[in-house]
Amino acid sequence: MSKVTLAVLVNNEPGVLSRVAGLFTRRGYNIHSLAVGPTEDNSISRITIVVEEDEQRLEQVTKQLHKLIDVLKITDLTYEERVERELALIKVKGDKRSEILQIVDIFRAKIVDVSPKEVMVEVTGDMEKVDAFIQMLDSYGITEIVRTGKIALARSAKN
């Protein structure tokens, strides 16, 4: 099994996400994460999908996706020079605020909301960094987490 990151450009139309998701369910492919949003062109959305499958089935995933009429382009970013980001919002118990602040600092995360009992922290980075950050906060008592799913963009040519 290996993990690949696919950038899928699709028509920004109702039902498209459902087509993509439906295809994955029907053929039994594993979605690891999925993020959708508009692009520079309003009529086109970009879906970033992380898929975990063996080689032969991965090839099938791309081919089957290509058959959807609303899919315009698929780029496999796995072997490209790329920037990857994920964003997470984490609520953590505020008893040891100063220790939390230190960790937040090290990870270049941000406190985005404070209440008498809890703080809300925002962190961005690749999946590993977000995982590591969450692990660090774990012992302080995490009450709620939301993560976006990965987005990725290939780096531009340097010359």
Partner: protein, 586 residues
């Protein structure tokens, strides 16, 4: 006065060359039916939307033009689902137009509202929800285009009632299709074609395995075979792609294939798959399929390549364009290989030989071994073989065969060889009982100068029996050959073999009296009870003008042989000795 959406729909269909539409009216499509009232488009009113979908499908298969079906919102639309799934599995170009509730009522569980776009997503090539009448002409053109290009398939267009009723802006009628995400690759990659050509020319034991996708390439297939002297086996869907009576035709492969086709698969060194998808009913145990062969896989759908088997030389493109490029200048022959294959048809290979040598491929000791012999037939009963041989001899080359699903389907495939593409109309992928009758009437409308013969079973026929009314109303001259065994034969056969003859819920009994039923629909009917009837009454009915129901009483113990049990390898055939004669001996 500008056209309404519904009028634009009808005029676009007409402009695109659609001749027939099949359908059933209802509230949400009233505007369409009103527009049809004065139109030159011929509308066939079936008696059930499923019937309409299958009729459009049969029409499409027979004519290679998209079939068009119309249904109302809610139950009308959901009644199409089986028809769409059936067309999807067999890659049939179909455009389904459904009415939807007023756009302002969507999402409110309004009367006869169903999310048909959501429901049909997994069983259509594409689908649309149209809420703006102005896009109707473009969407209809796109739907017809998508349905009938590349790997064909069904497209559903769901249109809200207000979009059908509103007057649209005139210039939009000539809107062009706009499908940036839809690419069809027809020509094969030159390097792959060259590699394939070399491999074919070097092969000592080449074999062609042709599926439904080879139908359009029939002529080039024949040329290829004759130039390189390559034997051909076809799938159920590929019947007719290569002439059924050609001496190099080995017949069907797979579960009910011929021993010589299945053994050729196991022994060949180069297997050329054309428009075929290595379905489990065809390959048997995949890991033991064609173990000695390098595989060339030609298919228009890139996703078929590598889906079930790994191809050594994949070629993505249209067989019609690729096959001519595989032709060389040299003529080749493979007399030894062909002689070897034909040996499998000799009695010495087919006798029960429980202790014969193990098959070198799967190491199964009973290569052609029969389990207990099939139960005795009552001597006087008519056999499916006798009936279908008379059908073949009576109708000859004008025949288009339509089938239902079950034993009747397999017998038709075994005993009614067709020589032309698109002339064996059957539900292959989905195996939809009830497909036959409506599909037969659609095919007959599409090819009025030929004779459609439907081979059906008592179970299947009752699943869309209401279409007898359609046949009667429009006087569609389909000949219905009902092989009445009073059981759900194919399921019962599996119970005999795999469930110790515990016949749970497979006996349908002797109701209804189909001939009486036919006369209730004002259709002529005849009962064939004896072998003599087969020689006299049967041809007479077949040659009578107009529709006819021919009910043949057959023994419920009749089985389809040979058979490869599910999961077994293609060399493990039960009752190979009961295989119908090969083409070169007929």
């Amino acid at each position: 006065m500008a056209l309404t959406g519904a009028e634009a729909l009808v005029s676009t269909l007409t402009e695109m060359g659609v001749e027939y539409v099949f359908g059933y009216p209802g509230g949400a499509v009233l505007p369409i039916y009103d527009a049809l009232y004065n139109s030159s488009l011929k509308h066939i009113l079936t008696r059930h939307e499923q019937g309409a979908a299958h009729a459009a499908d049969g029409y499409a298969r027979a004519t290679r033009k998209p079939g068009v079906v119309i249904a109302t919102s809610g139950p009308g639309a959901t009644n199409l689902v089986t028809g769409l799934a059936n067309a999807y599995m067999d890659s049939v170009p179909l455009v389904a137009i459904t009415g939807q509730v007023h756009s302002g009522l969507i999402g409110k569980d309004s009367f006869q509202e169903a999310d048909i776009m959501g429901i049909t997503m997994p069983v259509t090539k594409h689908n649309y929800l149209v809420k703006d009448g102005n896009s109707i002409p473009r969407v209809i053109k796109e739907a017809l285009f998508i349905a009938n290009t590349g790997r064909p398939g069904p497209v559903l267009v769901d249109i809200t009632k207000d979009a059908l009723m509103n007057h649209l802006l005139e210039p939009l009628l000539d809107a062009e299709i706009d499908l940036p995400g839809y690419r069809v690759k027809t020509t094969g990659h030159p390097r792959q074609i060259m590699l394939a050509k070399n491999l074919i020319q070097e092969a000592k034991r080449p074999l062609i395995y042709a599926g439904g996708g080879a139908g359009d390439a029939g002529e080039s297939l024949l040329q290829l075979v004759e130039q390189y002297d390559i034997p051909v086996t076809t799938t159920l869907m590929g019947l007719g792609a290569f002439p059924g009576n050609h001496p190099l035709n080995l017949g069907m492969l797979g579960m009910h294939g011929t021993p010589w086709a299945n053994m050729a698969i196991q022994e060949c060194d180069v297997l050329i798959a054309i428009g075929a998808r290595f379905d489990d009913r065809v390959t048997g145990n995949l890991s033991k399929f064609a173990p000695k062969a390098k595989i060339i896989h030609i298919d228009i759908d890139a996703a078929e390549i590598g889906k079930n088997v790994k191809a050594d030389i994949p070629i993505v493109g249209d067989a019609k364009s690729i096959l001519p490029e595989l032709l060389g200048t040299e003529k080749l022959t493979h007399p030894n290989w062909i002689a070897e294959i034909r040996e499998f048809a000799l009695p010495k290979y087919q006798a029960n030989k429980p202790n014969s040598d193990p098959c070198e491929v799967c190491n199964v000791p009973n290569l052609f071994n029969a389990t207990p012999p099939p139960p005795c037939k009552r001597q006087e009963s008519v056999t499916p073989k006798q009936v279908l041989e008379v059908v073949a001899a009576t109708i000859k080359d004008k025949i288009i065969v339509a089938t239902d699903v079950g034993q009747n389907q397999m017998w038709a495939a075994q005993y009614l060889p067709v020589d032309k593409p698109h002339s064996f109309i059957t539900s292959g992928g989905l195996g939809t009982m009830g497909y036959g009758l409506p599909a037969a009437l659609g095919a007959q409308l599409g090819r009025p100068d030929e004779q459609v013969v439907l081979v059906t079973g008592d179970g299947s026929l009752q699943m869309n029996i209401q279409e007898l009314a359609t046949i009667a109303t429009y006087d569609i001259p389909v000949k219905i050959v009902l092989l009445n065994n009073r059981v759900l034969g194919m399921v019962r056969q599996w119970q005999t073999i795999f469930y110790e003859s515990r016949y749970s819920q497979t006996c349908t009994g002797s109701v209804p009296d189909f001939c009486l039923l036919a006369s209730a629909y004002s259709l002529p009917a005849v009962k064939i009870l004896t072998r003599e009837d087969c020689q006299t009454k049967l041809p007479e009915a077949l040659l009578t003008k107009g529709p006819y129901l021919i009910e043949v009483a057959i023994d419920p113990d009749e089985s389809v042989w040979p058979m490869v049990a599910p999961g077994a390898s293609l060399c493990e055939m039960l009752h190979a000795e009961l295989t119908p004669k090969p083409a070169w001996e007929r």
